[in-house]
Structures are given as C-alpha cells and as structure tokens.
C-alpha cells in the first residue's frame, strides 16, 4: 500500500513532465479530452497532426512498459451496459465542461484557475456519488 503512494508520486511526476513538454515546447495545454474531442468534433482541425502525434504516444508508449510488471490489469467491469453508459457520460461531460482530470485537474489547478478548481470539485462530487450509487446501493461495480 505504501509503495502505491510512491509509485503514484513517481507516475504523477511523469504526467507533470508530459504536461510541461506540451506547454513549454508545443505551447499548448495538455488535456486528454480536449485533444481527442477536438479531433472528433472537428474543432481541432488546425492542429490535427499534433493531436494525432500526442494520442499516438499516449496509446503506443504504455504497452512498452507493461512487460516490467507481472500483471497489468485494468479490473474494468465486464458489463457492456455500464461501460457504454460511463463512456457516454465521460465523453459528453468532459466536452461540455471543456476539460477532464488532466486539463482542468493537473493543468488548471497548477495555475490556480478558478475553473480548474470548480471543475475538479464537481467531478469529484459526481464520481463520489456515482460510486456510492453503483457500488453500495446497486452493487454494479
């Protein structure tokens, strides 16, 4: 358990390094939902190759590290309905709010943005409530 905290901190520093590169070199704010969403709804037409390159790194690099671990299990639910409902909520919610854990959370709060703190407060409330309902009341996850 204590090791989890250390690896959490190390992984967090790597996430921060990724955000630092994207800001200082590319001049852009790292937000996973914005980078993907701009590709999907066409609002990111001007920066298409940069978005695809970022997503390429995000998808292709983690599996290179997987062999270092004995097991990497997402422990994701095998209920297709839950995955679809959750995916739709995450997709719509992050685009309506204009950001997710990386954009509002990491990049927003680190520049002391009111919008970043507000978004984070509300997605934590939404997440906490949904775990209470889905786990403790419905027993779904």
């Amino acid at each position: 358990m204590e090791q989890d905290w250390i690896w959490g901190l190390v992984g967090g520093l790597m996430i921060g390094a990724g955000a630092a590169v994207y800001l200082l070199v590319n001049g852009r704010v790292l937000g996973a939902s914005g980078i993907l969403g701009g590709l999907i709804d066409g609002s990111g037409r001007d920066t298409l190759p940069e978005r695809i390159a970022f997503l390429g790194g995000l998808v292709a690099v983690p599996p290179l590290l997987v062999p270092l671990y004995q097991v990497v299990d997402t422990h994701a639910t095998s209920r297709p309905g839950v995955l679809i409902l959750a995916g739709l909520a995450v997709g719509i919610g992050t685009r309506v709010a204009n950001g997710c854990t990386s954009g509002h959370g990491v990049c927003g709060m680190s520049r002391f943005s009111l919008r970043g703190f507000t978004a984070t407060a509300f997605y934590l409330i939404g997440g906490g409530l949904s775990v209470i309902v889905a786990r403790h009341i419905l027993g779904l996850v």
């Binding site: 989890d4 905290w5 959490g8 901190l9 190390v10 992984g11 967090g12 790597m14 921060g16 990724g18 994207y22 800001l23 070199v25 590319n26 001049g27 996973a32 939902s33 993907l36 190759p49 978005r51 970022f54 997503l55 390429g56 998808v59 983690p62 599996p63 290179l64 997402t74 994701a76 639910t77 995955l83 959750a86 995916g87 739709l88 909520a89 995450v90 719509i92 919610g93 992050t94 309506v96 709010a97 204009n98 854990t101 990491v106 990049c107 680190s110 978004a119 407060a121 509300f122 997605y123 934590l124 409330i125 939404g126 997440g127 906490g128 409530l129 949904s130 775990v131 889905a134 996850v141």
Partner: protein, 149 residues
C-alpha cells in the same frame, strides 16, 4: 519537431498514468469511494503532477513563444458557468461508474481488452454528440432568461 514533441508528451503522460496505477479502475474507484476502503493514491498522483507544473506555468508566463517558436496559449476564460458545473458532474458520474477518465482509457487501449475498447468507443460517441448537448444547455439558458424578462 512539433509532432515529435507531441508524441513524447503523450508518451510521458501515458507512461505516468501506467506507473501511477491510474489505468487500474478499481484503484480509481477506491479513491472515489470515501465510504468504502478509501485509497489515497490519486492524491499523490495529483501532487506529483501539479507541483512541477506550478513552476512550469511561472516559466511559461515569461515567454512570448514556446521553446521551438510556437505561440503560447492565449488568455484563458475566467467564468464559471452551467456548462462547467453540469459537464463536470456528468463526467464525474461516468468516471466513478467505470473507473476510467479519458487519459487512462486511451493509455490502456492496447492491453485493456474489449472493455477498454468499448469504453473508448462510447466516449468517442459522447464527444461526437457533445456539441448538441452544449446547444441544449445554452437553449435552456436563453429560455430561462426570456422567462425572467
């Protein structure tokens, strides 16, 4: 150059998510589950990412151009509105339900089985219809304003 560094940034971000354990949906749900067996790891992940970024924003503020000469981000919106609040609540609800937010869901795509793929597909569909959802919220706003008048 620009695309190489975007790839590098995405790679660092994805590797960090894996190392931090954020691709494990049970761990994420454990963090959100304050009435269960609460898992504080995510606080350390956030701290690890935010602390260096506080310094990086200071450096960024002093620059007109990025290190390879690209424009820096312009002024950010400052308002807190209904879209920010409702959108974040909805995002959080989905995040708690499946334990995936956008970054880790994409990072786990190659090894997360059909579950990751299905979640990412649904998330993509949600992003495709999001502009419509935003228009609906805006219309509600206008109607409320008309009623007030």
């Amino acid at each position: 150059m620009r695309n190489f560094f975007a790839f590098l940034s995405g790679g660092l971000f994805g590797a960090g998510l894996l190392v931090a354990g954020m691709v494990d949906t049970k761990k994420v749900q454990g963090w959100l589950d304050i009435f269960g067996d609460w898992d504080p790891t995510l606080a350390f992940v956030m701290a690890g990412a935010i602390l260096p970024m506080i310094v990086v924003w200071r450096i960024a503020a002093r620059r007109d151009r990025s290190l390879i000469g690209l424009p820096m981000p312009g002024a950010f919106p400052k308002y807190v509105d209904r879209n920010l609040v409702f959108g974040s609540l909805l995002f959080g609800a989905g995040w708690g339900l499946a334990g995936f937010c956008p970054g880790p869901a994409l990072g786990a795509l190659t090894f997360g089985g059909w579950q990751s793929a299905l979640f990412v597909l649904a998330m993509g569909a949600g992003m495709a219809v999001a502009p419509m959802a935003r228009q609906m919220l805006d219309r509600l706003d206008t109607e409320a304003a008309t009623e007030d008048a």
